[in-house]
Symmetry: C2
Subunit: 450 residues, 2 copies
């Protein structure tokens, strides 16, 4: 089969989705509620999800490696969590007041990640990183934020800078120039060059913000010493070091990636996993900095940093989902052992397979996260977002679509995959077999070696 | 009883909350997850909610006029909604993909509010208004945003300007000067002065954003012609008119306040009610503008406006809660009749009572929203946020605390109240009797006439 065959196959089996997508375009810009959820020719429409599967409106059942933007570490609707949520539904979904459920989740995060001396819950990751920036500027009275090229910290105005290639071009319309004046970009894994940039902006540098493992940009690991180098510069310079752990928090172990990489951020953000599948964000960190957000002290507006919150912050449904998810993870450490092993054997297995098939590819990842990148003459290895951006993205899309169309395996095309506790070794075998099948059958001339 | 007696009473009955609050301060800045949820001496901790009641950890049961930041128009955990959500829990809480549930809610909003030609869902109101601003700047290629003093549009960096008195002072630390350069403030209900300001900034004016009824600032109604005047200026000037209907959407009738006030915004935001008690935000408006957010078209970053979305956008749990809430409202138009009447008789009853008791107060509101303001020599009526800010806020707090302490009636101190479908006329009577009791017993000399 070549790519056109897979495309035809996809269209044939997603007829109802196609019809819905055309209608969705009538009412939603691009037919979606999140830009990355679109993929060519059109995305299927999910009807329900359960365990490791997504079920679409045409009756197809996909093995899901997207796992709700990598948030669902226990899989879709784990009974132990839905049971708790069923109870909570009767007891309220939105108090709009202080509540004990938020304290329980707060304490649990604090116990698991001692650097979370203080925590402020909000409802999305975009909010969390925005608040981290505001806190950093409050604490340092400086303005400039350094982030890495391709680093994804949500859609907030402060950090929607240098996300997509070409990085020097604004991230679309409507972002006024002045907003970009105070964001500088670093190249991930190039410490020497990064330090040079930092040196040039150090006088007004409020903070460096970075993901421990680049997620949206393509599952890219830090090289030894890179993150430590950034942290060291920030510490020496009196600037803050902020880790965006929205993807990585509670992903690799019962704690945060800062433990794995031996880092001590001043502030860090959490999201995804800590909400147990419900909307959440959190900014956490040193008490001394976080207390700047205390608006209860007597004083005027010049004495505190105004951050959310929001209507839905610390709502009891999210708090219960998050707390009980953490409880399951805490009491079953073998979950991490299991999903990290699944990640490991997938990376190894895929790497071997591509090598055997003479496909020029690199499989990146760590723990339960993994991603395939197809290399080309310009990109020989994946060390930063630019490498990922200039790799063979078309081949990746075609591979992902073939997996969906012929093998009912779903990665959000172009994005990394994650294992959940709902997975087992058979899923790895299925992925490896499907991959072999696709590349043995692909019409390489037409599609495989572009 | 004087204020100190009420304070003592509150402390006596909220012993467990006090203990939790002290522990909450150890981990959450200010002990809260949203600044406004703190009130003196400390907020009680909610254990559960049901219908029109909040139950705290000390076993107190409060008649709740806060209703989850005014989001819960059907009250807490209405069985008809929780039943649907119980089912959905098993079918997934977070697909991370396009889904039919989001289409159903989208279509329903579009049918109810035809100005919602296109919709983008996100997860909070703060996100929705931020995206509206970005879209407005994209559509007009202009930069300046006019908002009214005291207008609350969430914690986003773009609009966290001139929210709290004194309006000319930054909203706390960490907001760099440059971010405020492109926001100008208007005085609500002073059309002449507003037009003068607009005239001065018209060349670079991207949009005017305003709440049809000011919510957080104190339940303040627009005077006849004010909003129309702003809209007219925007239209003539080629700027956008944005209504923030996060509070007012589906609050007064099955549609938006734009219908009640005969307005035609280019863009508007929704939240709260449309999520049925779960996290949501939405930016809606003219297709021609909204389509700028279509990132699926071939092109580069300069051809579209990048807005969320987010991990949790259009998640099926929120979509189902919202859709079914709208369905109940649509099929039971008497709900609006009922809650609007409850609002009306509360406003009339409270006004009469204050007049009878010789308390210098004004009760503002419309439909099911209402709020008491205590006047003083400087503030003779409530026409804008400044009036509300300079009114006797201490007396309001004391009144609200007395209601909580002695009558188990909860308004978030200093904030307006809202009726839900869980309320009935007895609740109004209870409020009126409690108010009479408080003011007949207050030690006026000490607390009432400051």
């Amino acid at each position: 089969m070549n790519y056109d065959d897979y495309l035809d196959l996809y269209k044939t089996k997603t007829f109802e989705s196609m019809s819905l997508y055309f209608r969705a375009r009538e009412i939603f810009p691009g037919g979606v509620s999140h830009n990355i959820r679109f993929f060519k020719p059109y995305p299927f429409f999910t009807l329900k999800s359960s365990g490791k599967f997504l079920h679409d409106v045409d009756g197809n059942k996909y093995l899901d490696f997207w796992n709700g933007h990598w948030a669902l570490i226990l899989g879709h609707s784990p009974p132990i969590i839905t049971k708790k949520l069923r109870k909570q539904l009767k007891k309220g979904t939105l108090f709009g007041t202080t509540n004990k459920a938020s304290l329980k989740l707060g304490w649990e995060i604090n116990k698991a990640i001692p650097s979370a001396e203080n925590i402020r819950f909000c409802s999305t990751g975009s909010e969390a990183t925005m608040y981290a920036i505001r806190l950093a500027r409050s604490a340092t009275r400086k303005r400039v934020i350094a982030k890495v090229e391709g680093g994804w910290h949500g859609f907030n105005t402060n950090l929607l800078q240098s996300v997509n290639y070409p990085y020097e071009v604004d991230e679309g319309l409507g972002l006024i120039e002045d907003e970009g004046h105070f964001v500088e970009s670093l190249q991930f894994n190039d410490l020497e060059r990064s330090l040079k940039v930092l040196e040039a902006i150090k006088d007004d540098l409020a903070a460096i913000i970075v993901e421990p493992v680049m997620g949206g940009a393509g599952c890219i690991l830090p090289q030894k010493g890179y993150l430590q180098g950034l942290q060291e510069f920030a510490q020496k310079n009196g600037s803050l070091f902020i880790l965006d752990e929205i993807v990585t928090g509670f992903r690799f172990s019962y704690g945060a990636a800062m433990d794995n990489f031996k880092l001590s951020p001043d502030l860090f953000t959490l999201g995804k996993i800590i909400g147990g599948g419900l909307p959440i964000g959190a900014v956490c960190g040193r008490k001394e900095i976080m207390k700047l957000a205390d608006a209860t002290i007597e004083g005027d507006k010049s004495t505190y940093c105004s951050i959310g919150g929001g209507t839905f912050s610390a709502n009891p449904l999210t708090m219960k989902a998050g707390f009980n998810t953490l409880k399951v993870l805490k009491n079953n450490h073998n979950i991490y052992e299991k999903i990290n092993t699944l990640g490991e054997i997938s990376r190894t297995g895929l790497s071997r397979l591509f090598s055997e098939l003479n496909i020029d590819a690199q499989v990146t990842g760590i723990g339960s996260l993994f991603m395939v990148h197809f290399l080309n003459e310009n990109v020989r290895s994946i060390n930063n977002a630019l490498d990922a951006a200039l790799s063979n993205k078309e081949m990746l899309h075609n591979y992902n679509l073939a997996l969906i169309a012929n093998h009912n395996i779903f990665f959000l095309p172009g994005k990394m995959g994650a294992f959940s506790n709902a997975n087992n070794k058979k899923d790895v075998s299925k992925l490896l077999e499907a991959t072999r099948n696709i590349f043995e059958n692909f019409n390489n001339k037409k599609n495989g070696k572009k």
